[in-house]
């Protein structure tokens, strides 16, 4: 009993410590209380360290006792019964009050019901991921404490940082698809805000918006997938969804077609978050924030979140061979694309971001061919090494000069097989393709953004026309406000 209680407590610490940081920074910001740099850094470091220690304790416990799955329930926060057509919204508002009564009951799956159930789970997938998140976030937090010294947005940075850390930790240990979605949103929100950190210049804001827009597409797919899962299995709980085996030995109880449908949606979500083709354009653009945020957040952590999602729902992949095939294909295409793109980049951050993308796509391939532990190890190794590289990116010139001194000459251009095999004109075509970053952005603009913009503009025109019609002929002299006429 005591060990179990202790374990639960430790689990709660893991869940609560990043949330405490957010509360602390968020509330002080809300009430305009200005924390000193020292205070902020102490809070940030304490929370990361406590969280890390707690998750290491759980890891030790799991290793010692052989328990492989420790759930932590926070009950239903919203639960909708008898979902039928129009009463949805009314139901939601009324039933959100009785959240406490569902605190501990094991929810029996009923198709057609919806729960927003907060549940966390510590297993072989979530614990390594959580430990890695705490280590990297903690280290980067310590780095940023000094790096951002005297920066006007110091407090803002750490506020976003705390949201990000919370989102990452909760994503890693999420036990239901709703919890995962919620944390996933936090990561997306803080990422977009961090990209747009320097809001006095135009391009960070534009790029932040772009990241945000891509995330929206991915999140829409995720949401639909989550709802479909609920409909199919009656619950978003991974434990129910994946049958009785602990990760990674779960088996899903849905048919192959259903798995393909849900899996494809989840794949879109993962592709958006992990910058797989065709969403790759945002990754180099995310390098707008201060070096520590672009380093760990996009280059090393959140870019793996898509792969993590695929790992988490891996039983779904196993249920459909076609789906696994698609995953492998998408990974391979992205890998080839990113390999080409990274080779032409002449600035260090873009080159590193595409290098990250290569590894992420290889991880996706590994997941697609049915590996489970290897991609997990790959994620952790890659995240560590890339964080170090990105944090040290400003040292590039010094590193180059010391390498050149050691070698005694200018660094040799790395021999590339296909550069030697291709004819010059083909090479030029490849170069242009890579230089334009695979035209990924302009194609998204053409095929996704433009149709939307046209649609909205059309809606605007129709609205204006209706307005005019309703206003009648008397008010014709009243011009429509200028800003509404545009677009």
């Amino acid at each position: 009993m005591v060990p179990n209680l202790l374990l639960t407590l430790t689990g709660i610490i893991v869940v609560v410590s990043p949330a405490a940081l957010l509360m602390m920074l968020g509330l002080t910001t809300l009430f305009r209380y200005k924390l000193s740099e020292v205070a902020i850094s102490r809070f940030a470091q304490t929370c990361s360290f406590t969280g890390l220690l707690a998750s290491l304790c759980i890891l030790a416990f799991m290793l010692a006792t052989g328990v492989r799955d420790v759930p932590l329930e926070f009950g239903n926060w919203v639960s909708l019964h008898n979902l039928t057509g129009t009463s949805e919204i009314a139901d939601e508002t009324t039933s959100s009050h009785d959240s406490t009564q569902h605190a501990t009951d094991s929810v029996a799956p009923h198709a057609g019901e919806f729960h927003l159930r907060m549940k966390f789970v510590f297993d072989r997938l979530s614990i390594p991921f959580a430990v890695m998140t705490f280590v990297l976030c903690g280290v980067i937090g310590s780095f940023a404490v000094k790096y951002l010294h005297l920066e006007p947005g110091y407090n803002r940075f750490f506020l976003f940082y705390s949201i990000f850390q919370l989102g990452m930790v909760w994503s890693s240990i999420a036990g239901t698809i709703e919890t995962l979605f919620f944390s996933w949103e936090l990561v997306g929100l803080s990422s977009a805000l961090l990209v747009a950190y320097y809001h006095d210049r135009a391009s960070p804001v534009q790029n932040g918006l772009r990241v945000w827009a891509v995330y929206r597409i991915a999140d829409a797919a995720f949401l639909v997938a989550a709802l479909s899962l609920h409909h199919l299995s009656g619950s978003g709980d991974f434990a129910v969804l994946m049958g009785d085996g602990d990760w990674p030995f779960g088996k899903v109880s849905i048919t192959e077609q259903q798995a393909l449908l849900v899996g494809s949606l989840l794949l879109i979500a993962a592709a958006g978050k992990s910058a797989l083709v065709p969403f790759s354009g945002w990754l180099p653009r995310a390098m707008e924030g201060p070096t520590p945020s672009s380093a760990v957040f996009y280059g090393a952590l959140s870019v793996h979140l898509g792969a993590f999602l695929l790992l988490r729902v891996s039983p779904v992949l196993e249920a459909s061979k076609t789906l696994s095939g698609i995953v492998v294909a998408l990974g391979l295409v992205t890998m080839i694309y990113a390999t080409m793109a990274t080779r032409v980049q002449s600035d260090v951050k873009s080159a590193l971001s595409y290098a990250s993308l290569i590894q992420v796509s290889i991880i996706v391939v590994e997941i697609g061919i049915g590996l489970r532990y290897i991609p997990l190890i790959h994620i952790i190794g890659h995240a560590c090494i890339r964080t170090l590289q990105l944090v040290r990116a400003p040292s590039l010139l010094k590193d180059y000069s010391s390498l050149e001194n050691a070698i005694g000459d200018h660094l040799p251009p790395s021999p590339s097989i296909w550069q030697r095999w291709l004819t010059p004109s083909t090479r030029e075509r490849f170069y242009r393709f890579a230089w334009e970053r695979g035209y990924m952005d302009s194609m998204l603009d053409d095929f996704v953004v433009q149709p939307f913009v046209h649609l909205f503009r059309m809606a605007n025109r129709i609205e204006l026309r209706c307005e005019k019609f309703l206003e009648g002929p008397t008010n014709r002299n009243n011009p429509v406000p200028k800003d509404r006429r545009r677009n």
Partner: protein, 1038 residues
């Protein structure tokens, strides 16, 4: 290749002579405009030069007047920043008055509209915030009601009463009591205005009004009268240099920015073209030059690129088939965009400066091929501009077509758009113009009656006076007053110090040479405080030994001299023969490890290799990651120890001498200086600084460098006189030269007797960690071991004290640190991956003293002064020594100062902004984040404590001598005459100071002759973070 394409163009155009003539003219024009570009080369050899160097032939203030229009950067700090300095007492009223009086002379006391003296009006506009911000801000303020209901809070009680009383009397007497009296037309209008104001209170009888509402009535009257009268006064406009590119017109009309389309594409292409070897795939056909490689890249494919770029492929093919050259293409673009011949220069200037970081780098790699690994051929800047205008054409066409539905030919676009350019600029609305009058009326107690009864010409006079004192003028006055005040303080202090006797040890125990650098000021001061029998000298940090240098274990030669000099000699460092085997082993080990590291680095960026490396070795990298960030000191120590096993052996020699007949060159025979050259350099070093007699037993020559981690701007912390490299080799070379018996015997012939027991020693002062490294210690005679030991002991104490003084500037360093803790703190800073301020470089520099150290010795100059040693009494009749010193010192120090000053004034414009999002690109410079212009200038973290002022040169010589030097040296003349730096001379025999002003020297009358006295530097600065005043350090009160 380039030459060939140009000759082709000449053939094609041979028929049309005027065209060729014009072409050459455009090329010349672009070459001239290139001087406006930032002069910063590769960031690894940071050059401190005035960002406005190309405009130094015009007066400083005139240039600043137009920089906003040309560069889009601020000429001064914001008004609020100056007003804060005013509130803090850093700008005294007397300084403001002084500047205002000079501006207005002789009309300072003229009454404006019979209300107020001109100078008083200006002072009031400076010291009070009376100008509304933008139109929207004003609307917000007026909406907030307070502005026209309640008096300003800073009005005195008496003023309020006076104003209210007079208003009440006027209203009651003039408008109420005599309703039947006939009124003139203006009077009627006025009556209506008054009536309207009163009507708002729904009261017919003013006598019944409550006392409190008279305040509002008064304000409302003032407001209404000002508004109604100002309508008929034409707006004052200063002569504008503004020119609008088609892009600006389009931005104004369509709210779409064509630069936003062009810059990412052009920037990325520049980055690829200029890449010094970072990208794995180099730009194909780079050897064709900028223009042709661009065409070649854009000729194929591109069906899916951004929509505005898609038609480019066709045009590129046309250009290639027609064999159009870059300059022809540029002229086609000028025609296509409809640029009139008279606008050509303005248009090309703006186009060139729109992305000036990249354009400047193209120009640098073209004109200084010796400073880069991959240079650009001649004419690259013209080609850059041709590409830029080609892209402009498509971007502008695309926006015009899509946002404005404009389908005519592009050359008519300017004509089409000009009438549409909206004119709602700041200060156009009546409210916006009347607001300052309302504020002034309150500040000076102008009653509604006075304003109402002013004649129309008086109104014009008043409004004109107010409006002509524009934001620029106000900031200018503030800035000059701030600068003037500081100059007074500096000159007063120097004058007071110069009255005291020269301080100089009779028998110096040790003599130390350092760089002229402002950072060495405190170092020297502490050295003299710790050991009063030490004598110090300052000289430019390359010690007049310009050379290309390659250290042992280095791959390339580095130029160690100011950027303006091209060295003629090559020097290498060799490991001594007895250690040659160990050196070879270590070099092999380094090469092996270097290759492995390089392979690993590129491997992790690859696909399959990356997968293996990251998956297998990745987790191991948590160790260096955590170590580097959480335990930086320990990790740095481990690194040092590990590197020690492979570093080059510690005993090395400089290969300094070559035979008289061998030509200098980087090959074996050409390395080194001839004996004649060495004698000349040795003599010059001693004569320049005035050390020609009374030599100590030990003379230490200290170059300086710095070290820090993770900082692309590291080079900016090294010695500026060595092109942003450490100056150790120069110091070491000079010491070796002066120790040479043959040199000494020749110097004896020339009148400099260096005693046999005098030994010179080279060293390096690390300005970040305060450590000192000594070179060639093994050559030191055993008789001098005791001397060097005691010197080392002194230096270690100086290091602690200097670190302590520096720490007061670092917010993260406690003011309660002991000197030892301070030293540890600065050491930590330089080993910390996350530290963006390892040191503050030459920040806060404000003064440059050229003269004998003894004149200023003991003076606390707060690290604000460059110090150059020069002894006027040893100079010849023609002042040849001073002339050659100043020829280097004035442009170099002025360049450093202007770069700091402008970077501090507008950091995101002249400087490179905050370091945090910097992204190294092409191995040449930094961008902001994912993609931006190449950022030049100093980062915010390097200038946040700098106070922008022009450097004050104080030179110990006579006015006549200085005047002669100005007349003879065009560079010095340009800088001093046009006011890019301030200049004063200190008489060598008295404390008379003469200031240079408008081409002549006038006596400076000190405002005070007091110089505070402090027992030690530490006592003066303890507990203070900000800039301090000057003081005199005496051990005990004299």
């Amino acid at each position: 290749m380039n030459a060939a394409s140009f000759s082709n163009s000449n053939d094609a155009f041979a028929a049309n002579k005027t065209d060729r003539h014009e072409t050459a003219e455009v090329e010349r024009l672009i070459e001239k405009l290139a001087e406006l570009l930032p002069s910063q080369g590769p960031i690894t050899a940071f050059a401190f030069q005035n960002p406005l160097q190309g405009l130094e032939d015009q007066p400083f203030i005139d240039v600043l007047r137009k920089v906003y229009d040309v560069y889009g950067c601020e000429p001064f700090l914001q008004e609020g920043a100056y007003r804060k300095k005013f509130a803090d007492g850093r700008i005294p009223v007397c300084a403001l008055n002084e500047i205002i009086a000079e501006d207005l002379r002789p009309n300072a006391n003229d009454k404006i509209a019979g209300l107020i003296e001109c100078s008083e009006l200006r002072l009031s506009m400076l010291t009070n915030s009376i100008n509304p911000g933008t139109e929207n801000e004003l609307r917000w303020e007026l909406g907030g009601v307070e502005a026209i209901r309640r008096f300003r809070l800073d009005m005195s009680h008496r003023d309020r009463e006076n104003l209210v009383d007079s208003t009440r009397d006027w209203v009651k007497s003039d408008f109420q009591r005599t309703p039947g009296r006939p009124l003139s037309v203006t009077r009627q209008e006025l009556a209506a205005t008054v009536q309207k104001s009163i009507m708002r209170f729904h009261l017919g009888n003013p006598a019944a009004l409550p006392e409190s509402s008279w305040e509002t009535i008064c304000l409302s009257l003032l407001w209404r009268i000002s508004r109604s009268r100002i309508k008929s006064v034409p707006r004052y406009r200063s002569k504008s240099t503004e020119y609008l590119r088609p892009r600006d017109l389009l931005l104004n009309a369509a709210k779409d920015d064509s630069d936003e389309l062009v810059h990412p594409v052009l920037g990325r292409f520049c980055s690829a073209y200029l890449d010094q070897g970072y990208a794995h795939w180099q730009l194909p056909r780079r050897d064709l030059g900028f223009f042709n490689s661009f065409l070649s890249l854009f000729s194929a494919g591109g069906h899916f690129s951004s929509r505005w770029l898609r038609p480019l492929g066709k045009e590129v093919t046309r250009i290639q088939q027609a064999g159009t050259t870059a300059i022809e293409c540029l002229e086609e673009s000028l025609l296509a965009l409809g640029i009139q011949p008279q606008d050509r220069e303005a248009f090309l200037t703006r186009s060139l400066l729109a992305q000036r970081g990249w354009a400047g780098m193209v120009w640098q790699t073209e004109t200084r091929p010796d400073r880069v690994y991959v240079p650009s051929p001649k004419g690259s800047l013209v080609e850059y501009l041709a590409v830029r205008l080609l892209l402009d054409r498509f971007a502008i066409g695309w926006i015009a077509q899509n946002s404005l539905n404009y389908r005519e030919s592009l050359d008519q676009l300017t004509n089409y758009l000009t009438p549409h350019v909206s004119t709602d600029r700041i200060g156009e609305s009546v409210e916006h113009r009347a607001y300052p009058i309302l504020q002034l009326a309150q500040l000076h107690g102008w009653t509604p009656r006075q304003l109402a009864e002013l004649s129309s010409p008086s109104w014009v006079e008043l409004v004109r006076e107010v409006e002509s004192f524009s934001p620029f003028e106000r900031r200018r006055v503030f800035h000059l007053a701030f600068e003037r005040h500081l100059t007074h303080q500096m000159l007063d202090a120097i004058s007071a110090r110069a009255e005291l006797p020269i301080a100089k040890p009779d028998i110096p125990r040790l003599q130390v040479f350092t760089c002229i650098d402002a950072r060495e000021e405190s170092f020297r001061r502490h050295l003299e405080e710790v050991a009063p029998d030490v004598e110090t000298f300052g000289n430019a940090g390359f010690f007049n030994v310009p050379m290309y240098f390659r250290g042992a274990g280095e791959a390339h030669f580095t130029a160690l001299c100011p950027i303006v000099i091209k060295p003629k000699n090559w020097v290498v460092e060799d490991v001594v023969l007895s250690l040659i085997d160990s050196d070879r082993q270590r070099a092999n080990a380094r090469r092996w490890l270097g290759t492995a590291t390089h392979r690993f680095n590129t491997g992790t960026r690859g696909s399959i290799s990356g997968a293996l490396l990251t998956a297998v070795l990745g987790p191991l990298f948590t160790a260096p990651l955590v170590g580097r960030i959480i335990f930086p000191r320990l990790t740095a120590k481990m690194h040092r120890t590990a590197r020690g096993f492979m570093a080059t052996p510690p005993v090395t020699r400089l290969r300094l001498e070559r035979s008289e007949d061998a030509p200098a060159g980087p090959d074996d025979e050409g390395i080194g200086f001839t004996l004649t050259e060495m004698i000349a350099m040795g003599e010059r070093a001693l004569r320049d600084t005035g050390l020609t007699s009374n030599f100590a037993r030990l003379v230490i020559i200290l170059g300086h460098g710095s070290n820090c981690l993770n900082n692309p701007h590291e080079s900016a912390y090294h010695c500026g006189a060595c092109s942003g490299a450490p100056g150790a080799a120069n110091a070491r070379a000079l010491a070796a030269i002066l120790n040479d018996r043959r040199v000494r015997s020749q110097l004896l012939v020339r009148g400099i007797a260096i005693p046999d027991e005098t030994h010179f020693l080279g060293g390096l002062h690390n300005t970040a960690t305060e450590s000192i490294r000594y070179y060639d210690l093994e050559l030191l005679p055993t008789s001098h071991v005791r001397d060097i030991k005691s010197a080392m002991e002194i230096f270690s104490r100086v290091a602690e004290r200097n670190a302590h003084e520096r720490c007061r500037r670092f917010e993260t360093a406690s003011l309660q640190f002991t000197p030892l803790e301070a030293l540890k703190h600065v050491e930590d800073r330089s080993e910390d991956l996350a530290q963006t301020r390892p040191e503050y470089g030459n920040s806060t520099n404000a003064i440059c003293f050229v003269g004998r150290r003894g004149r200023l010795r003991g003076m606390y100059l707060d690290r604000r002064s460059f110090l150059m040693s020069y002894d006027a009494s040893q100079d010849n009749q023609q002042n040849g020594i001073l002339a050659r010193i100043l020829a280097a010192v004035i442009p170099v120090c002025e360049g450093i100062n202007m770069l700091y000053t402008l970077s501090a004034i507008d950091n995101s414009g002249w400087g490179s902004g905050t370091k945090l999002p910097h992204n190294i690109t092409s191995l040449l410079g930094v961008m902001d984040g994912a993609a931006s212009d190449l950022r030049t200038g100093l980062p915010w973290q390097g200038v946040d404590i700098h106070e922008p002022v022009r450097l004050l040169f104080v030179i110990e010589t006579t006015a006549a001598a200085m005047q002669m030097i100005i007349n003879e040296n065009p560079t010095i003349a340009r800088i001093c005459r046009n006011g890019w730096a301030q200049l004063a001379v200190l008489d060598p025999n008295s404390n008379r100071i003469q200031q240079y002003c408008d081409g002549s020297f006038t006596d400076y009358v000190p405002l005070s002759s007091e110089l505070p006295v402090t027992p030690s530097s530490g006592d003066w600065y303890r507990g203070q973070r900000g800039n301090l005043g000057f003081a005199m350090v005496f051990k005990e009160k004299p």
